[in-house]
């Protein structure tokens, strides 16, 4: 088998930008061709997982806002809800 999957991080644990970068690199690799069939199929599967991860991350994302506050000279963070402040 190819080494594509053995050394790769599971797509599920990649950040969006890492998944997208690897996805685009995977496409280039697969398009260059001349790969053994098993390796091409492994790359395809890896790419599809990465694409799914990208979409999943965007679908699940919700903007998170924290506000820095100073308490007793210590910097702290608290969640900030813009709508309640409005």
């Amino acid at each position: 088998m190819s080494n594509v999957r053995d050394t790769a991080t599971p797509a599920k644990s990649l950040s969006f930008e890492d998944a997208l970068a690897e996805l685009e690199a995977t496409v280039r690799q697969l398009e260059e061709g001349n790969l053994p069939l098993a390796e091409a199929i492994a790359l395809y599967e890896r790419g599809m997982h990465l694409a799914q991860q990208c979409s999943d991350l965007l679908d699940a994302a919700q903007l998170q806002v924290e506000q820095l506050t100073l308490a007793n000279g210590q910097q702290q963070r608290a969640f900030f809800f813009p709508d309640e402040q409005a």
Binding site: L30, G33, L68
Partner: protein, 398 residues
Amino acid sequence: MTPWTVGKLTHYIQELLESDPQLTDLWLTGELSNVTRSSAGHLYFTLKDATAAIKCVMWRSAVEKVTWQPAQGAAALAHGHVSLYPAQGYYQLVVDQLRPAGLGDLYSQFEQLRDRLKAEGLFDAARKRALPQFPRVLGIVTSPQAAALRDVLKVIGRRYPLVRIRLAPTLVQGATAPPQIVAALQAIDADDEVDAILVVRGGGSLEELWAFNDELVARAIVACRHPVVVGVGHETDSTIADFVADVRAPTPSAAAEMAVPDQAELRQRVRTCTRQLEQALRRRLSLARQAIDQRWRALHRLSPQAQIDAQRQQVDDLSQRAARSLEHTLALHHSQLAGLQARLAALSPLAVLERGYAIVRQQDTGTIVRQVEQVSPGDRLSVRVQDGEFGATVRSGS
């Protein structure tokens, strides 16, 4: 006396006005009214006070340098020269600089600071850093109550909700705003997770935006380890903070758009990748299929069955040739035999006997009698004719 033409008089007055040293270089204060902007970008207005008014025009090249919004009723300080508009017969002030009056000191401070920081190279494009393409954490320096913040969060939430926002709250106007802005910038910049910082404030009057013309604020922006986007006021507002920012945005919403990628484009990129993956794999599979077909044909040519078939044909061929060769030899021998038989038959003594000859032998010795003197009377002979033998006795000699 020759009467003057209107043109001649107008020209005469024009010369008077435009050659007067006082009128060619003067500062004039007054209240702005009838402010209109032509489609060509020129600005027309009237400056007036309690007793008088003068029409003013500002050409587009000069209007572009104005960093505030000249509004109806505002007190203004204009610089320019008096000229005459012959077609309408009125005089006007051609304004090349327009400042808000009362802020005259502030304005010259602004210009001095701008020139000084510029001379230090703080506005240089080479100093400016690019924003990260995919920020993970964005710092925002603004007032938590401001509409600008809500706009920014709305834009970022729509475009790239993956980013996390850290808000460093500060006042954004008033005398205490500059040190607060500096402290907020330093606090957010100290955060190692932050990838870029947005400094935003909605539109306001020149005084309201003044905190962003503060030298300490400008230097705090320059000192940031992380790239800073400044979006203060409207498109027409320019502050020192804008000039020193790594990225200058015309408005807070524009700053938000510049700071994060757009998920619509990102989703499109992912879809494109998926399509390319599918196409590439399809191409690879059809290559593999072709290779298999080719080898299948080659294998078929080399299979034992094919060899057996070929050898069987060879055996057939050889046996046919062998059979043909045998028949040929037999036929040859047959004809040779027939020839020999014919010759043998021709030479056989029996054939002579058939023609009526006989063979005579001495009965006792079997000696063939060829001459008369071989026999004597009384000898017993054996005579062989065609169909058998009979005995005979010699009666007389010769």
